[in-house]
């Protein structure tokens, strides 16, 4: 009994910290989402579900969801394909694996704002390296960030560049953790490499793949902000505006705190639904 009390006491500071730093802001934001609060007015007004009703009629919100989902599915899908292929190749024994691993980690370690600062001059229409290279092979200049059709794909390209190595390293760790015995037994039994990959490696990698996709999916849906903000700010028009850019603009640029909170909660709800579906499909425990 005394041990249990001691254990509770020891857990208490941590639980309080989580409550204060994590749960309280969440509850407060939920409370705020039922109010209309346009700063600098200091008087929030209770409006019940009006903010949520407005969200249902907000076309900009729907388009932001479509763009966010397209962004996540495409970038994480491509990162997975490239990462899986790279991990498969590297897992078969490559010299200098440690060096390669370190180099691959470099983009992952760069702060998102710095990533934006690196890519902005590359995309420059007149002086950018990309257009210079296109010019060398006789192609015309591309308006990388300045057209509605190109802006979002450019942001996706950056996300793929930055996070494919992360996917690769997780999957490489997964490949390396597969026990050798079943693979060798399959080879002795005459199975092809494709058959081994499909019937042995892939099933054993499923939990790792699930975790990698989940982490990248959450990250991509909710946290791809800084680079996009620096490069396009959601433009031209709203052509590259994802949900988090929209919420930032509503809540922190124009200080519609109640509506911003309602948007955030809707985004959280969508993310939870997405995660639940993901668990169902991948049967990740």
């Amino acid at each position: 009994m005394r041990d249990r009390t001691l254990a509770r006491l020891l857990v208490l500071p941590c639980a309080l910290a989580i409550l204060i730093l994590g749960i309280f802001p969440l509850i407060y934001a939920l409370h705020l989402s039922f109010h209309s609060w346009q700063l600098p007015s200091l008087e929030p007004q209770f409006v019940g579900l009006e903010n949520y009703a407005n969200i249902l009629q907000d076309k900009r919100f729907y388009w932001a969801i479509v763009r966010s989902c397209f962004f996540v599915v495409t970038t994480v899908g491509i990162q997975f394909l490239l990462g899986f292929t790279g991990a498969f190749v590297l897992s078969r024994g490559v010299r200098g694996l440690r060096l390669i691993g370190s180099l691959l980690l470099a983009p992952v370690m760069i702060a998102p704002v710095a990533v934006g600062a690196i890519w902005l001059p590359l995309f420059d229409i007149n002086f950018g390296l990309l257009n210079y290279c296109l010019g060398l092979i006789g192609l015309g200049k591309v308006e990388w960030l300045a057209t509605p059709t190109n802006a979002l794909p450019c942001l996706m390209l950056i996300d793929i560049w930055q996070w494919t190595p992360f996917m690769l390293l997780i999957l490489l760790a997964g490949f390396q953790s597969i026990p050798r015995e079943p693979l060798e037994a399959a080879r002795i039994g005459g199975a092809s490499e494709w058959r081994i990959l499909r019937s042995i490696s892939l099933p054993m990698l499923t939990p790792v793949i699930g975790i990698a996709l989940l982490l990248r999916g959450i990250d991509s849906f909710g946290k791809f902000f800084d680079t996009a903000y620096l490069l396009t700010r959601g433009g031209p028009g709203t052509s590259s505006e994802t949900l988090n850019l929209y919420i930032y603009e509503v809540g922190f640029k124009f200080f519609r705190l109640g509506y911003g909170a309602a948007l955030s909660f809707t985004m959280l709800l969508l993310a939870l639904v997405g995660i639940a579906v993901f668990f169902k499909v991948f049967r990740v425990e």
């Binding site: 229409i125 700010r233 433009g235 031209p236 603009e249 640029k253």
Partner: protein, 488 residues
């Protein structure tokens, strides 16, 4: 305001005591070291370089004359509005002085976050009447009280390539094609003709030389941050007005649609990527010899004659903005958007408001501001009559300075101010977003502006119709008093 050391606290206390015994002669009492505010340190929130260059260049003089130490808190241009407002709302008190775009006046002055300077202005006059009327009435005052003094008086000028416009072959070709003489455009229709005329592909001839690269008629800033400003240049001359007296949007009126249709027509003659352009791209396009003409802020004129920045030194002419010809009278109605002018103001949290006022008074004084606006690298632009009347005092000297100042005066006579009411940043952003959509031709100009009107109504409703109407009426009345819009 945080004081880092006890000694600083004591010295500031001494300064406060000395201030409280200021004489009423128009000059502050002088401190024992000969400087009236020795020991006072002030934090200035200002957009980072190049905007803060003028302030940085004047720090020794502020220290020398006032004894004030300035700590510059550089802010990023894209987040300037929310950073300062967040500081005000939370009462953090990071800034004693703020330098910001005048369009934030409604949110800063109107909400009571800034100190009225009336008392200090009366005691230590800042040559206030020498400040050009639009910058005085619309940018420095709120509801009849003075809250700020100008730092940078932004307006637009038309820059064109004199060498191309004066080339005999080009003039002859132009006359043959359009039936009138080639010159700086007087009307927006002429602007389109000239933009079309000079847009050429490699292999074609320009002023007797075969082009190896594309050459364009114009370059405009259609990026999200300022697309509205380039629209306002047309909107004003097409007799557009933001709202009627009851705060009902007039942004989708026939004249506004005509203005946006002109923007859409003009769009095709731009250098590549105008939807991603910033002011820097527009400026570069002119200075690197890629376009025949641009609209730009006054700093372009100074840079155009600096060999270190320009490939077209001596080839750039200046003119006020084109306008719209009245079909009945033949008179041309012009308007030049007054967008992005910056002011300096003292925050409510400032513990040394008088010292802060003296700093902004010094910075905007005839003498110091003349240096600020006429240095090659300062990015501050004229806002006083003194600046326009005394070319001999300009630090940067170039052929055509008189012409530049005369075009500036003409532009300022027909200035068309951006909104300064509460929420102006959001109203402008909505406008920019829809203007971009019209330029992409994803929707028609009428649809785009109808969308603006709908969103503007929602902003007004959210912020309180009555308060917004009062603020707009005040701005409208000032604009009418200054003859910037018709009084009917």
């Amino acid at each position: 305001m945080r004081w880092p050391t006890q000694s600083l606290l004591l010295s500031s206390l001494a300064a406060v005591i000395s201030l409280s015994s200021c004489s009423r002669t128009g000059q502050p009492e002088v401190h024992v070291d000969g400087r009236p505010y020795s020991g006072v340190t002030l934090n200035v929130g200002i957009e980072a370089a190049p905007v803060d260059i003028a302030l940085r260049n004047r720090l020794p003089r502020i220290r020398e004359e006032l004894g004030v130490e300035i700590q510059i808190v550089p802010l990023e241009y894209g987040t300037l509005f929310e950073k300062i407002l967040t500081d005000f709302i939370t009462g953090t008190g990071s800034f004693d002085i703020v330098v910001y775009f005048a369009r934030y006046n409604g949110d800063y002055m109107g909400a009571g976050f800034l100190r009225s300077l009336d008392e200090y202005v009366q005691e230590y006059p800042p040559d206030y009447l020498d400040i050009l009327p639009a910058f005085r009435k619309l940018y420095s005052e709120w509801e009849g009280r003075i809250y700020a003094l100008p730092y940078d008086g932004d307006y637009f000028l038309l820059y064109y390539r004199k060498d191309l416009f004066g080339h005999p072959e080009e003039r002859s070709d132009f006359k043959q094609r359009y039936g009138y003489d080639l010159g700086p455009p007087d009307t927006w229709d002429e602007w389109l003709d000239i933009a079309e005329f000079f847009t050429r592909k490699p292999g074609e001839t320009l002023a007797g030389e075969v082009l190896t690269d594309n050459f364009y008629g114009i370059s405009e800033y259609w990026g999200r941050a300022r697309a509205y400003a380039w629209f306002l240049n047309r909107f004003g001359s097409y007799s557009g007005l933001f709202f009627d007296e009851n705060m009902e949007p007039r942004i989708n009126s026939p004249s506004a649609v005509a203005a946006l249709e002109h923007c859409v027509q003009s769009f095709r003659y731009n250098t590549p990527g105008p939807l991603g352009h910033t002011w820097w791209n527009v400026r570069e396009d002119l200075l690197f010899g890629k376009v025949a003409m641009i609209f730009g802020w006054p700093d372009v004129g100074k840079a155009a004659h600096e060999p270190t920045q320009s490939k077209v030194v001596g080839k750039v002419g200046f003119a006020p903005s084109p306008g719209v010809r009245d079909p009945d009278t033949g008179a041309i109605r012009r308007a030049t958007a007054l967008v992005s002018g910056r002011v300096m103001a003292v925050s409510q949290s400032c513990q040394n408001p008088e010292a802060a006022y003296q700093v902004i008074r010094l910075m905007s004084s005839q003498d110091v501001s003349m240096t600020n606006i006429s240095e090659a690298n300062s990015h501050c632009d004229p806002f006083r009559l003194h600046h326009l009347d005394h070319p001999e005092l300009w630090k940067v000297r170039f052929d055509g300075l008189e012409e530049y100042l005369s075009a500036s005066r003409a532009a300022l006579d027909v200035g068309f101010p951006e909104l300064t009411i509460p929420g102006a940043e959001e109203y402008h952003d909505v406008l920019s977003r829809h203007v971009q959509e019209a330029l992409q031709r994803s929707i028609s100009p009428q649809q785009a502006l109808d969308g603006v009107a709908t969103e503007w109504r929602a902003i007004t409703r959210r912020r309180g119709l009555e308060a917004q109407r009062r603020a707009w009426k005040s701005q409208l009345s000032a604009m009418q008093q200054l003859n910037l819009v018709p009084s009917d």
